[in-house]
């Protein structure tokens, strides 16, 4: 197992190099000039050139890449071109909101989607099944910003149950934290709920046709045990897989949700950085998200082994 994890980590190195190189080139080939953002509207071309030289943006691409990756290896992600804040500090400031959003949203998703999927599969082709599927397909079909606006309108403005926007750190108490995170997490969860409920249903349908489910029923076990102990555990692998690949979906959802609900997280930081061509920040963030994506999927692959004793690495 350890050897497997090690091997996977080794194997992810070329992936990360591909990502790093790709992002670096893409950004540098993109028109846009951080110097212009820094200098504002009145700057003359000469002033811009001076600022660019100062930021090292006049160096050849290869030199810039070597410098950057050299710094990376020493753990130095550089500093924002715009605000001069170290990139790691920036990321550190934004990590908690995004993590909270992702985790709360994930918990909501699991609480809602798995029972939904199990129920739909159990009552295959029934009204319940159709209803669950309709809900989840609908969740998949509405752009997340629309979902967000509707939630704000209904629950925050009309019913006044939640604040309209913002984020409260969990360090200020679990109540206020949950109160602020609830709506954005729910908005973010809708797509994910749809995705996982569907996958759960499909995986359960597959499993429910297996011989050992028949065996379990032949043993006179109750349906609850058959469904949750026998079927769900066997359906776990594809569900876990979709949680992993769906993680990418969540990232794009996070970007939008953070804008709609004004959650000061990494998603907004990334979009801001892209629009401002704040290269070190973008590079670090995309590398980070890609790294997390790779790590999450590694984690999920490893967790297969805990779900299914047949899988040994």
């Amino acid at each position: 197992m350890l050897a497997y994890i090690l091997r996977r980590i080794l194997a992810s190195i070329p992936v990360m190099i591909v990502v790093a190189l790709f992002i670096f080139l893409l950004l540098r080939l993109t028109p846009g000039d951080p110097a212009a953002i820094i200098a504002g509207d009145m700057a003359t071309p000469a002033q811009l050139a001076e600022i660019r030289r100062n930021l090292g943006l006049d160096q050849p691409l290869l030199t810039q890449f070597v410098t950057w990756s050299g710094q990376l290896l020493t753990g130095d992600f550089g500093q924002s071109l715009i605000s001069r804040t170290p990139v790691l500090t920036l990321i550190g400031q934004r990590l908690e909101p995004t993590l909270s959003l992702a985790i709360v949203s994930m918990i909501m998703t699991l609480i809602l989607s798995i029972p939904m999927g199990v129920l739909a599969a159990w009552r295959h082709r029934s009204l319940t099944d159709s209803a669950v599927m309709a809900i989840s397909v609908l969740g998949f079909s509405i752009p997340i910003f629309v979902t967000g606006y509707i939630l704000i309108q209904v629950f925050a403005i009309d019913l006044k149950l939640f604040p309209v926007q913002g984020f409260t750190s969990i360090s200020e108490g679990i109540g206020p934290f949950l109160q602020r995170i609830f709506l954005p997490a729910l908005a973010l969860a809708t797509i994910y709920i749809a995705l996982i409920a569907r996958m759960t249903r499909a995986a359960m349908l597959n499993v429910l046709g297996e011989d050992y489910i028949r065996t379990a029923r032949a043993k006179g076990l109750s349906e609850r045990i058959v469904l949750f102990r026998h079927a769900l555990r066997n359906a776990a692998v594809p569900i876990l897989t979709v949680i992993g690949t769906g993680f990418a979906l969540m990232i794009s959802g996070v970007v939008v949700t953070e804008s709609v609900f004004n959650v000061p997280g990494l998603g907004r930081l990334t979009v801001d950085a892209i629009l401002a061509r704040d290269y070190p920040v973008i590079q670090a963030l995309i590398l980070l998200t890609s790294g997390i994506y790779v790590a999450v999927n590694l984690l999920i692959d490893v967790s297969y082994a805990f779900m299914d004793p047949r899988i040994r690495y």
Binding site: S12, P14, V15, M16, I17, V18, V19, F22, I23, L26, L27, L29, T30, P31, G32, S130, M133, A134, V137, L138, F140, S141, I142, P143, I144, F145, V146, Y149, Q153, R198, M199, A202, A203, L205, N206, V237, P238, T241, V242, T245, A248, I251, S252, V255, V256, S259, T270, V271, I274, L275, I282, L285, I286, T289, S290, G291, Y293, V294
Partner: protein
């Protein structure tokens, strides 16, 4: 795998393996009511897109700043937007853009992903390289990649299409590859080898058809998610320009009027949701009809 294939199903008592490998044969009767409605709705949207120039009362980009944000009227069934453009006409033309984005993304992703996946499934060395690149592409958050690409090449319909499609390609490649990997173990592929068929022939004649069913299903999801992604890109300010109306940019431009003029976001939103809903339902139907095991196949 300790068990040898020779004992997988011995004896005549073994249940016949029901394989639904045939090309999509969705019988008309097999479609549920939902699928029928979905097909009907989608057909309606396609017709709308095709005949947009005939159906729209106004030029979708002709503005009339003096008549901006008008409410519903006979002249403007969906009202007008912030430039005084007719939202009904824009929604009709928006169907075109959104469908082009959706179908285009699905088509391009399949056209590129299919050959890459076939090759990758067959050649180990190529596979190793290709899969690292695909892993890399997959690891980059699609939306961020799309924003970056749109920023790079400018935001026309075509760049948005490219930006949306690129992140979908790895998924298609992986899907095709996984189908090929399992299908190449099928005895009929081995049979083709033993009768001396060349590799391209085997790939094209025996392997590629296996990917059709899962690809159709995958394509519907790519299609739906491309339309959604276009809307999200518009929301983030990296969408298609306002002179090419799409449901996404109509909504995105109208989102600030959400509380005052919900119709600006409601109508394109309704069409968008109905279309995606229809595509998703058809995709689900296709999956249920074509390959009950698809869900079980791991993505990688």
């Amino acid at each position: 795998m300790a068990e040898h294939p020779s004992t997988a199903a011995t004896g005549p008592g073994a249940k016949p393996v029901v394989r639904r490998n045939f090309l999509p044969r969705i019988g008309v009767r097999g479609l549920g009511l939902a699928a029928w409605i979905a097909a009907f709705a989608l057909a309606l949207v396609v017709l709308m897109a095709l005949f947009a120039p005939l159906l729209s009362p106004y030029d979708p980009i002709a503005m009339n700043p003096m008549e901006r944000l008008a409410d519903w009227s006979l002249a403007h069934p969906f009202g007008t937007d912030a430039y005084g453009r007719d939202v009904f006409s824009r929604t009709l033309y928006g169907a075109r853009t959104s469908l082009i984005v959706g179908l285009g993304a699905a088509l391009v992703a399949v056209l590129i992903g299919l050959p890459l996946g076939l090759l990758s499934g067959f050649f180990r060395t190529l596979d190793a390289i290709l899969m690292r690149i695909m892993d890399g592409l997959m690891a980059i958050p699609a939306i961020l990649l799309a924003i970056a690409i749109v920023a790079l090449v400018g935001s026309s319909l075509w760049t948005v299409l490219v930006a949306i499609t690129i992140p979908e390609i790895p998924r298609v490649v992986r899907l095709v590859r996984s189908v090929v990997l399992s299908a190449r173990e099928e005895p009929y592929v081995e049979a083709a080898i033993t009768v001396g068929s060349s590799l391209p022939k085997i790939m094209w004649k025996h392997l590629a058809p296996n990917t059709v069913a899962p690809l159709i299903v995958q394509a519907t999801y790519v299609c739906a998610s491309a339309i959604l992604t276009e809307a999200i890109l518009s929301f983030l300010g990296a969408g298609i320009g306002t002179e090419t109306p799409s449901w996404g940019n109509i909504m995105s431009e109208g989102r600030i009027y959400f509380q005052l003029k919900p119709s600006l976001i409601f109508w394109p939103g309704l069409f968008l949701s109905i279309t995606i809903l229809a595509i998703n339902i058809l995709g689900d139907t296709a999956r249920d009809a074509l390959d009950p095991k698809l869900g079980k196949r791991r993505q990688d």
